[in-house]
């Protein structure tokens, strides 16, 4: 069974004329790590909302096509039913944190309580995610006394604790320091290796190129490309879609350094290093 199937999805927000999503088709295998890139208003966040059912169950508007996540039809399900299969981490943690819980620990427990997990299971999961995301030392602190980055990690921890089959993350590291971002990417990658499907919108091209199995390039509500990071970031027309490739790819393109066999440009530091210290590599 595919983790995600999207067929000819079209969506327009109420009181707008332009399609936010236009004829979107793609499939994701279980355990894949998908990175979604594109300039602002490309449809990335709307696609995330469509995967978790906020579109069309919360945001109304014109909707057509079909979305199936973890075998469940989004249109004929509800957001709360879907939450058992797919979780979302929003860009702004203020959107996510309940503001009803007095401690970080209780905040992570909230979703688990709602799902009715046993106490011992809850304790194990909460301890695991708080340590995974470097928040254990803050477990007794009020969520609103955390820094912006710590709050974002709390939002991520709350979703990871529920272990949905699919996790959607909308620019989850935008407020994190460099090594904090790296920790989140590693944590998410380890979940992917455990079989959890990851769909992440990101503007940090170097990181998403390094960690994602596939990259989806979106523009004006459409999927322009969907494939290996090296393939998508090697596109000569990438910048016309308002996307700058990873700095390694950008430097490699300008210096004509690519893989002689495939003609594709490097997207990670390690790929670039290998090509630069080996000869011949200049096209």
């Amino acid at each position: 069974m595919k983790a995600v199937v999207v067929e000819n999805l079209k969506y327009r927000y109420p009181s707008t004329e332009r399609l936010a999503l236009d004829s979107v088709n793609f499939e994701v295998e279980q355990g894949e790590f998908i990175g979604i890139i594109g300039k602002n208003l490309a449809g990335k966040s709307t696609l995330c909302e469509a995967l978790v059912g906020l579109v069309p169950h919360f945001y109304k508007g014109a909707y057509g096509g079909r979305v199936v996540v973890d075998g469940v039809e989004v249109l004929s399900s509800t957001v709360s039913e879907l939450a058992r299969h797919i979780g979302i981490v929003f860009q702004n943690p203020f959107t996510q944190i309940t503001a009803d819980k007095l401690t970080v620990y209780e905040e992570v427990a909230f979703g688990l309580e709602n799902f009715g997990f046993d106490r011992s299971e809850m304790v194990d999961r909460i301890d695991y995610v708080l340590k995974l995301l470097g928040l254990y030392e803050y477990k007794d602190r009020n969520p609103f006394e955390l820094s912006g980055g710590q709050m974002q990690r709390l939002a991520i921890a709350s979703i990871i604790a529920m272990r949905p089959s699919i996790i959607v993350l909308d620019e989850p590291t935008s407020q994190l320091d460099p090594l904090g971002s790296e920790e989140v990417f590693r944590a998410v990658q380890s979940l992917s290796k455990e079989g959890i499907t990851i769909i992440m919108v990101e503007q940090k091209m170097e990181k998403i190129a390094q960690y994602a199995d596939k990259i989806m390039l979106m523009h004006e509500g459409r999927v322009i490309d969907f494939g290996a990071p090296e393939k998508v970031f090697s596109r000569p027309d990438l910048e016309t879609y308002g996307v700058e490739p990873p700095v390694f790819t950008s430097v490699a393109k300008r210096l004509g350094i690519n893989d002689n066999g495939t003609g594709l440009y490097p997207v990670t530091l390690e790929q670039m290093r290998r090509l630069m210290i080996s000869e011949p590599h200049r096209s």
Partner: protein, 270 residues
């Protein structure tokens, strides 16, 4: 007289939990990036510079005025602060009104405020949205509105708190150009950011905070040469600096442009 002097400043929101500890530096014109891990005290520091908070011990002087003896409102003509989250800053229901609010508040006439607001909106490429409600705009556009709201006041000191968050390539390029233009105009630009490539490309000086203390303060190239010290503060140098290190280059390169030029000039047939 320095534009900003920070002398042995310490601050705590809760007694016994210091956020800043004995921080000292001075600033004049140019561009300065303040970097550090989440929770290192960066945002608290800029709130102190804007007199939104007052030091527990030590003093901060803005153009010779002690922030303990003034208010954020009185400093508004000198220090502009663009908040990290534009939703914390925007409250009018029309973009133009929002951008005119600051200039009107510091005593400009309606005509003058309107002229400055439109110029600021042109700078951030949002002049065509001046009649719209800011909350009908995308988050990245709202961030640019909040930047325009500060630019319109033409302050000597402009502080940005994480300006590149939620910005795509177009937005980042726009913000880089704004920073460079403001520096060319002789202003002091202070930015808090986690975007090290942005720092490498646009900032002349870097201050590193770690757990409330000043860890490093110096020219950008010098600070990014200290990779081991940066790691202790949960930071890493720009990607192009990391690349040069990985392929065994001795120098510290701060931008792709700089590295490409050097590499091409070092080729045997160049």
């Amino acid at each position: 007289m320095n534009l900003i002097e920070v002398n042995s400043v310490s601050f705590a929101y809760t007694e016994g939990v210091p956020v800043l500890k004995d921080v000292t530096f001075s600033l004049n014109e140019g561009s300065v990036a303040i970097i550090g891990q989440n929770g290192s005290g960066k945002t608290t520091l800029v709130k102190l510079l804007k007199a939104l908070l007052k030091p527990n011990t030590g003093d901060i002087f803005i153009k010779g005025v002690n922030t303990k003896e003034t208010t954020a409102a009185k400093l508004a003509k000198t220090v502009g602060l663009v908040f990290q989250n534009p939703n914390d800053q925007i409250f009018k229901n029309k973009v133009l009104d929002e951008v005119m609010f600051g200039p009107l508040n510091i005593g400009q006439s309606v005509e003058e405020a309107r002229e400055n607001a439109i110029r600021a909106l042109e700078t951030v490429s949002l002049a065509d949205k001046k009649e719209e409600n800011p909350y009908d705009l995308s988050l990245s556009e709202r961030k640019l509105v909040s930047i325009a709201s500060i630019l319109s006041m033409n302050t000597d000191i402009v502080i940005f708190d994480e300006p590149t968050i939620a910005q795509d390539w177009w937005g980042k390029t726009k913000i880089k150009n704004i920073v460079r233009d403001l520096v060319d105009c002789g202003k002091l630009i202070i930015t808090i950011t986690h975007d090290m490539d942005f720092v490498g490309e646009c900032f002349q000086r870097v201050i590193v905070l770690s757990r409330g203390e000043l860890l490093l303060d110096g020219p950008t190239r010098e600070v990014f040469s200290k990779e081991d010290v940066l790691r202790t503060a949960y930071l890493e140098p720009p990607y192009v600096t990391q690349l040069c290190r990985a392929i065994g280059y001795e120098g510290v390169f701060l931008s792709a442009e700089e590295f490409v030029k050097y590499y091409e000039s070092s080729l045997p047939n160049s």
